[in-house]
């Protein structure tokens, strides 16, 4: 069943479309990878799905009792965060904000949710540690735990392995994959790493000069994939 439907989306800035006529569904349990060259509009698409940026045309429809604000978002790290004095606990807890409304403080249930997500990501022993003193992979796991606090159904990850070494990268992919497989959480990931995308994803959205949305199997035999994969090799 479709959780999110993107209908006739046109994306871009100040009236200049980068991508047009984007149509796809994201179903419960999918593992979707969004791939494409730099500047092709991947991040814009992600912001539009999250409701941070209105589309030029078309709309994003959440259905089946799912709300746009219930997406767990794992953003790319900002400069501000690298030097931010906050404990792991405080950061993960801030993911519970979407059910709060105007209530000023977190309740017991939310604190429990934060603690269990910290544990799920294997970060319990670091719960009181300072975020800026953690390694890149640990920080990413903290942000993943925070994203899990915000959602029970869908994770949206923006290049989650940028700047991580191969071992940590594999661990993060494993974490995400087990969330998808065991917890039945829908995963939408922007990725540069086309190999990993093809290994885990069930569905590929390729945006660029031409747009492809469909299953991995179909993607592998598509024109977009052939051009892109060839390009990817020459880029290293």
């Amino acid at each position: 069943m479709a959780l999110l439907t993107c209908k006739d989306l046109s994306l871009g800035y100040e009236g200049h479309p980068i991508v047009e006529n984007l149509n796809f569904d994201i179903n419960s349990g999918d593992y979707v990878c969004i791939v494409g060259e730099n500047g092709s509009g991947k991040s814009t698409l992600m912001k539009t799905i999250l409701g941070l940026q209105p589309p030029l045309e078309g709309k994003v429809i959440a259905s089946d009792g799912f709300k746009q604000t219930e997406i767990g978002y794992l953003p790319q790290q900002t400069v501000v965060q690298k030097d931010f004095p906050a404990s792991v606990k405080e950061i993960v807890l801030s993911g519970c904000g979407n059910g709060m409304g105007l209530r000023p403080f977190y309740n017991k249930e939310e604190k429990k949710r934060a603690a269990s997500n910290i544990e799920k990501m294997g970060m319990s022993e670091y719960a009181d540690k300072c975020y800026r003193e953690l390694s890149g992979g640990q920080q990413q796991r903290v942000l993943l735990a925070r994203a899990l606090c915000a959602t029970k159904k869908m994770l949206l990850l923006d290049e989650p392995v940028t700047g991580l070494d191969p071992i940590v990268t594999a661990e993060i992919y494993d974490n995400v994959y087990s969330l998808n497989r065991d917890d039945k959480i829908t995963v939408v990931m922007i990725s540069h790493d086309i190999e990993a995308a093809l290994r885990y994803a069930t569905k590929i959205i390729h945006i660029g000069k031409t747009v492809f949305c469909g299953t991995k199997e179909k993607y592998l035999s598509s024109v977009e994939a052939r051009l892109f994969l060839k390009g990817g090799e020459t880029n290293g």
């Binding site: 999250l50 409701g51 997406i71 501000v80 004095p85 801030s94 904000g97 000023p104 300072c130 915000a150």
Partner: protein, 284 residues
């Protein structure tokens, strides 16, 4: 030593000294609370810009001979804060440039107005005391103390109630917005609180030194503490202690109140910096 102590006891018999201490401590408390957020959001200069706007408003109030200028200055500063934040997001002139423009503009126009229209015989004295706060804290009326008290309590209450939201918006605005927090509203709230604090703090340290009161305690606390809550609490305590001791020193030594407080803030920052370096060194 005993002589100093006697002098202090003598001073404490005057109500204006007590007022100055109460107001000073309250203002220091408020200004430090948002310091952490401002430093982390790279907003340090908004405080600076707004304080110059407040100076301009004060000059305007002086020209029109308003006896109680605080409500007027407050209104102008709050409106400027909202405009800076709202316009700053989608304007042709980007954030820092807009702030720089407004702040020097307000400073220049304020000084110009004072020079042309003021009936006071000692214009440079007036300007100096508005900019650096010199003696004004010792001449507070009971009404001003009450206004300061009430506004401070409101500021602290608002900060505590919205503490978690402010944290979320400071740490990651996009995430907060994506999960349904009205980040725009909280940014606005932060701006309004800053404006209120600046107008309050003008009495204490004058408009040029306000930024110091806002950012120094936060920066000091960030050297040593690791969680958002402990940094916030520590900067509040540091700020209150610095303001208190600064006022006492300035009374005893006859130095200007504002700059003495800022000097104490700087000393504490250096101490915390060294402490942080030692702590970090041991851990590594």
């Amino acid at each position: 030593m005993a002589e100093l102590f006697n002098k202090l006891i003598l001073y404490f018999q005057y109500p204006f000294v007590i007022y100055a201490l109460i107001v000073g401590v309250l203002i220091a408390l408020c200004s430090s609370l948002l310091g952490v957020t401002l430093v982390l959001k790279r907003f340090s200069f908004i405080g600076d810009g707004l304080s110059h706007v407040a100076f301009g408003a004060m000059a305007l109030a002086a020209v029109f001979d308003l006896t109680n200028n605080m409500p007027f200055v407050l209104a102008v500063t709050v409106i400027s804060a909202i405009l800076l934040l709202q316009v700053g997001q989608n304007a042709k002139i980007k954030g820092d440039a807009a702030i720089a423009m407004i702040s020097v503009g307000a400073l220049a126009i304020g000084y110009l107005l004072l020079n042309i229209f003021s009936k006071s015989s000692n214009i440079s004295g007036d300007v100096c005391s508005t900019l650096f706060g010199s003696t004004s804290i010792l001449t507070l009326t009971t009404t001003e103390v009450w206004i300061c008290g009430v506004l401070s309590v409101i500021t602290v209450a608002v900060f505590i109630v919205f503490y978690n939201k402010i944290f979320a918006v400071t740490f990651d605005e996009n995430f907060a917005r994506a999960t349904g927090t009205k980040a725009g509203v909280y940014n606005l709230l932060i701006a309004v609180i800053i404006a209120v604090i600046i107008v309050l703090a003008m009495n204490l340290v004058g408009s040029l030194l306000i930024s110091a009161l806002v950012i120094f305690p936060a920066l000091s606390a960030m050297r040593v503490f690791k969680t958002f809550r402990s940094v916030t609490i520590c900067s509040a305590i540091v700020s209150v202690i610095c303001a208190f001791s600064g006022i006492i020193v300035s009374i005893l030594a006859g130095t200007p109140v504002g700059s003495t407080i800022v000097a104490v803030d700087i000393i504490v920052f250096v101490l915390f910096f060294i402490l942080g370096a030692i702590k970090g060194g041991i851990r590594k």
